[in-house]
Symmetry: C2
Subunit: 411 residues, 2 copies
């Protein structure tokens, strides 16, 4: 049978994640990978989680093995509200403001379903976390791509583009700005308080929502915390959190925090998406958070990440400090450094050479919607050891040199 | 902020599940509920699952607490392939034909996303499982509603409707027929082999896919098993299975079985939906299936369900046998009996009286897309005790009598 004829527009335009495809070679033991944004499994509290898992399956089976409410587990919500209060300074959140999702990815899909039509607009960073785009794209909206700077999205250019929509009479079709304001994926940069306030002012002026995706906020290892956009403007902000980076990704638990009117809509749509998030994994996270101060526990992990980040910055300075037109970001947290080459460099083209030299990164073009830039790469520092970081960046320098040579020979 | 202006078409048209809303009163301890299609938690193997959960979290943490492949856990797929071979007589399925989803509901959503556009057609039963419709509806297709008979969907009417599409020149926009051929939800009826073959012939003749949703197939307590549509026609059939009814719903594990070309597409789309199904719950189900013959274990549960079904049929005969124009289905498995009243009866209107008399059912109108029939109700027999079934049907007779009296007084 010719299935092609039966496929929808979504199916015809869906593309496999470049990252997943590229990183399939990462299993080679000699490969040093700066690719995935995957936390170190040795940081997962496996003993405690194992004990709790047995207990809640045996004793709370009427909850953990049964269907649950679409809204999510109230025990988990209450535990998370405490965490938000204590560590993020976010007050006034009630369980009715929260929906538990299958990771943040489902949250992104629900947002797309609830807010976007084919004639809608939304704004995203350039570069942007591609998981968000692949969720939003299912509704075929138009994307405004707003350049990212060392202090986050360029809000002046955002305003220019919004004004263009005003002039075209289409501003009422503009739904939201999507940002990862703290330790952005892929660039690692953060938006300072003043810029957050500017963004909020724009949200009022042009009447839009802000999607604040915050998977890395708790992974700060230096510098001062910046208030979340949600805490400054709860009415217009939809805050997305995840347990993937602070506890472990396997549970697939994300949390949407937003006004009750939005939440009710997301909940009704989620009924048609998967009825409910698994009850077992939710209760497991709930009982764990009730017994442990996870943010306190994370401190040694953050120390480790910080030292690895420093190792990578040092190695970059050493290997690329003398190479003209090469620059990189200096994140205060999160998992990623964004390395920029001169504009004529194509890091996807360079990727073959990197594989040969047993070092992996994610080519920057994976993080653009339409207006692709090819001269960047994302480097993750959380998994490789200090020695591997040093050696990997050395290999990368070699790769860059070979690439430069190849390009000058062919031109 | 006025959120209404920001909502998409999906959000504006999404409706809360009537079932979930109605059954909120079920927590009253005096209430006898024939409402939910929820399995008895005492049938969940909690001790074994608890032991396995602890072991796989502690020892297989690099898998169970980490991100997993979008395709699903290979251990689970292999265990399930064995189950399919042994108990369903389905051969030739490989892991590449399988995708593990967050319950069947996610499978239904992926099917909608992958196959339906706004100008597409699909056919569903009248009545139909509403979870399927709420997933498909997100893409705004046109529904052909095909009457359900005591032996499943009326395939002659299906063919008539397909011919109408041929005449309108729109048959190429017809994508699939959605059926629950064994112990249908809500009606409990099954489609015999001959009719399955007829449906397959139509699929060839009019070039469409068949979505075979089979949550209840393993819950047969009498009569001869009927080969699944997938086993007869794997190329054109997408088979949906779930662990919710045979193991427990809390794990939220569904499985799509289809040709590799379809599977690849579903997998790419799932990347944008939730990246992957939780790894912990998948491995838990896998290790359980490897150690236990779950279908063998289910036998006492099926004995229990059968006797409860018989209790309900006896009670219906006793209470409603003399009531003109009342009939009901006689399922050989599954969870539901479908009770039909004369056409002037409205079971939603009757619902208030039922609540007063402390008995609950699901009004039939919950199971129709556009052409609603109001004179049916769905009765689930798996959770209440024998005594409650007897007493509940007695109350229902009282409710029907009061309703008839009220209607004749008001007319």
């Amino acid at each position: 049978m010719d299935y092609e004829k039966k496929f929808s527009q979504v199916a015809k335009t869906a593309k496999a994640s470049i990252i997943r495809e590229l990183l399939k070679v990462a299993s080679d033991p000699e490969m040093i990978s700066f690719g995935g944004g995957v936390p170190d499994p040795e940081t997962f509290p496996r003993e405690e989680l194992g004990e709790i898992a047995a207990k809640i399956v045996k004793e709370e089976y009427k909850i953990t093995l049964q269907y649950g409410p679409t809204e999510g587990d109230n025990e988990l919500k209450k535990a998370y509200i405490n965490l938000l209060k204590k560590h993020e300074g976010i007050e006034g959140v009630s369980p009715e403001n929260m929906l538990v999702t299958v990771g943040s990815q489902e949250a992104l899909q629900l947002i797309g379903l609830a807010l976007l039509d084919e004639d809608s607009y939304c704004a995203v960073g350039k570069p942007v976390y591609l998981g968000a785009v692949s969720a939003f794209k299912q509704m075929f909206p138009k994307f405004l791509e707003i350049p990212l700077e060392d202090d986050g999205m360029n809000v002046d250019i955002l305003e220019e583009k919004l004004n263009e929509l005003v002039n075209k009479g289409e501003i009422d079709k503009f739904k939201f700005v999507y940002v990862v304001p703290t330790f952005q994926n892929p660039a690692g940069v953060s938006m300072p308080l003043e810029k957050r306030k500017k963004l909020i002012n724009l949200a009022h002026k042009y009447d839009f929502l802000i999607i604040e995706d915050d998977p890395y906020g708790a992974l700060r290892f230096e510098g001062e915390p910046i208030p979340s956009i949600y805490s400054l403007e709860p009415e217009r902000t939809i805050l997305l959190n995840t347990f993937s980076k602070i506890l472990c990704p396997g549970l697939r638990i994300g949390i949407i925090i937003a006004s009750t009117d939005l939440l009710r809509k997301f909940t009704i749509i989620k009924q048609g998406v998967d009825l409910c998030t698994p009850t077992l994994t939710q209760r497991l996270a709930a009982r764990y958070l009730q017994a442990h101060d996870r943010i306190e526990q994370l401190k040694p992990t953050l120390e480790l990440y910080k030292s690895k980040k420093d190792s990578m910055l040092n190695a970059l300075e050493e290997e690329f400090g003398d190479m003209q037109g090469v620059s990189w970001t200096r994140p205060e947290g999160g998992l990623f450094i964004w390395l920029t080459f001169p504009e004529w460099v194509d890091t996807m083209e360079m990727f073959e050479e990197a594989k040969k030299n047993k070092v992996l990164y994610v080519p920057g073009e994976a993080f653009y919607v339409n207006e692709v830039e090819k001269n960047h790469m994302r480097l993750s520092f959380c998994l490789p050891s200090h020695e591997e970081i040093k050696e990997g960046i050395r290999r990368l320098r070699k790769v860059a040199e070979s690439y430069v040579k190849m390009k000058s020979l062919s031109s």
